[in-house]
Subunit: 404 residues, 2 copies
Amino acid sequence: MSETPAAQTFSHLSVRLAQVANPQSAIVHFGSDAPLPLDCGVALAPFSIAYQTYGSLNADKSNLVLVCHALTGDQHVANIHPVTGKPGWWETMVGPGKPIDTDRYFVLCPNVIGGCMGSTGPSSINPATGHAYGPDFPVITIADMVRAQARLLDHLGIPDVLCVLGGSMGGMQVLEWAATYKDRVFSAVPIACAARHSSQNIAFHEVGRQAVMADPDWCQGRYLEEAKNPRKGLAVARMAAHITYLSDEALHSKFGRNLQDRDKVTFGFDADFQVESYLRHQGLSFVDRFDANSYLYITRAMDYFDLAADHGGVLAKAFAGTRTRFCLVSFTSDWLFPTEESREIVHALNAVAANVSFVEIKTAKGHDAFLLHEPELFDTIGGFLRAGALKRGIAAPPGSKSWP
Amino acid sequence: MSETPAAQTFSHLSVRLAQVANPQSAIVHFGSDAPLPLDCGVALAPFSIAYQTYGSLNADKSNLVLVCHALTGDQHVANIHPVTGKPGWWETMVGPGKPIDTDRYFVLCPNVIGGCMGSTGPSSINPATGHAYGPDFPVITIADMVRAQARLLDHLGIPDVLCVLGGSMGGMQVLEWAATYKDRVFSAVPIACAARHSSQNIAFHEVGRQAVMADPDWCQGRYLEEAKNPRKGLAVARMAAHITYLSDEALHSKFGRNLQDRDKVTFGFDADFQVESYLRHQGLSFVDRFDANSYLYITRAMDYFDLAADHGGVLAKAFAGTRTRFCLVSFTSDWLFPTEESREIVHALNAVAANVSFVEIKTAKGHDAFLLHEPELFDTIGGFLRAGALKRGIAAPPGSKSWP
């Protein structure tokens, strides 16, 4: 007997909400005595960080690879996702024998502060009220996310990272790590990102936020208390954002003007074109796994990101004195974070004589290329990590065949 | 005494709705005995076309310049807009001594079928019910719009046009005119357009439509009957679309990451950034002057546009035998209708040995360049029109100084 769509939706929501308080991953709770100081001035306490690990920490604690996830990502990098039942978002990249080889490295991915998969965020319970924070959650920044991650490393007793890497908002976190914790970052791979969020990107985020807030089921942010969910608004936000993750060329080659299960247009507002059907599906499946307020807060954190502004307006100053080995990656067809923005970071790193390499990968896949099957990306990251590990004198694990 | 925002809104809506039935412009009513055959199979009757004219028709009836408006444009090209009180959308282009010189040419701009400024559209009264059509209005196409315009010319007793021109959706109408009424188009200027709507553009339109339809005040399209208006949904649709009308570079140079009337970010969801404030204003002012269902119907007409598909999949066939003089214009920073799409039209015209010139204008203003102060566009259109008029042997008007 098949479930009705309504029952499915309810089931998805309850499965998702269960992950907020009691995630299907490791979690660390920091108590009232250990607040997280936020850029907005609030001391967040208590707070929790949910995370996944893959592989094993070596005896020297020198093989940690920290993966920072993107806007709508989470800690489920390389395991079945507890809400969607689908593979992790970077299964192609992380695993035994894969570019981020879990036979060699200890891979850690924390859910960001502000998220909705177990780390403290707007859908977590506000101890002051006993209800979800909702709009009372403090606005967080990329620096706050990274500060929380550093606290997690402290808690785990890991002094530093062999490599911190991530794409899109993950790349922003990588840059923040490299700028703020210079002695704790041996190498860094910012992928498809920028040192500041552009005007156009802020504009797209604002459209998404307005779509969510226009939904009466958003209830001024208190939808959980009202037992509602701004599904339609969040779906529209996701649809708009999704277009920016792909390239014009990718959309054209994937869908063109192909019709969806019909021979001719219907002269109506159904999804006549495959691209419409695809976008609607993207919107609807997203709302089953993501929290609307988290979407507002995390987009805001990205908008606020401006690493140069935090260093007197000069990006190079953010990296002064760095000994971190950098590898930047951009994609030719990425119009959300165009190559030029990676190049600006490279220029700033060159200005402080940092150890930096830069790879612009030719692809039609757009911004999402970092999540997809992109052999040159796999080779770049696998090779860069291996060179770093050798440089750091990390011994081969027992029984390893491919370790050089 | 200043009005309250609510009173202003009400006033805007009533002023706007008054234009539907009784526009502040010329209007022709076609009765039940003169239906407009639509591509969807419906015969629309009765129907009306509201239009504006500037200048005078010469004795030979050979100096008509037909201006086709874009998605959210209307017939108020060069006069104060009756709803907004602002100058017409092409005041820079149309007027005495301007590139489209009303001392020389008789300029006509009809509101498109499906629109909301007097031509029959979804907010017009459906004679079958006595209420606004709403979702019962038939889905219209670019070809339907052009067919209605040809009927208007028949009614006015004007055999052909010296030049038909327009940008964006206006350019699509120009192409349709040139393909369908070859003997009635002496010259044609399609600006910043394409012979078919791309997958990415369909995607953006679909986001806008979903935003409107997600608004509970849309009432399944029957908001006028319910005395409601899906303002929030339409504002979100407009915000998303507006980003696509500008270039990344234009947004960056206009707004960058500048803050709106504040020294630092507020750690909240107010419009901290100027670009957010600007977009919100664009959304809100749009809903005061435009009908939500018209937005759905006209975006759909653009999505359906595929001139080659109507001619066996070969664009050149659409223009076979043409004697029209063409001048195509594109803008370097237009990513909604990139130069490549104009070039495809030029190739098709070359394949049938048409008389065609093509100007790609270097500008950072994006798609909206066709509406803005762009001297090279003014020179191009002014010169092309003058050459066409001379070629056609149009005599100088009495007392004209600048007429060659």
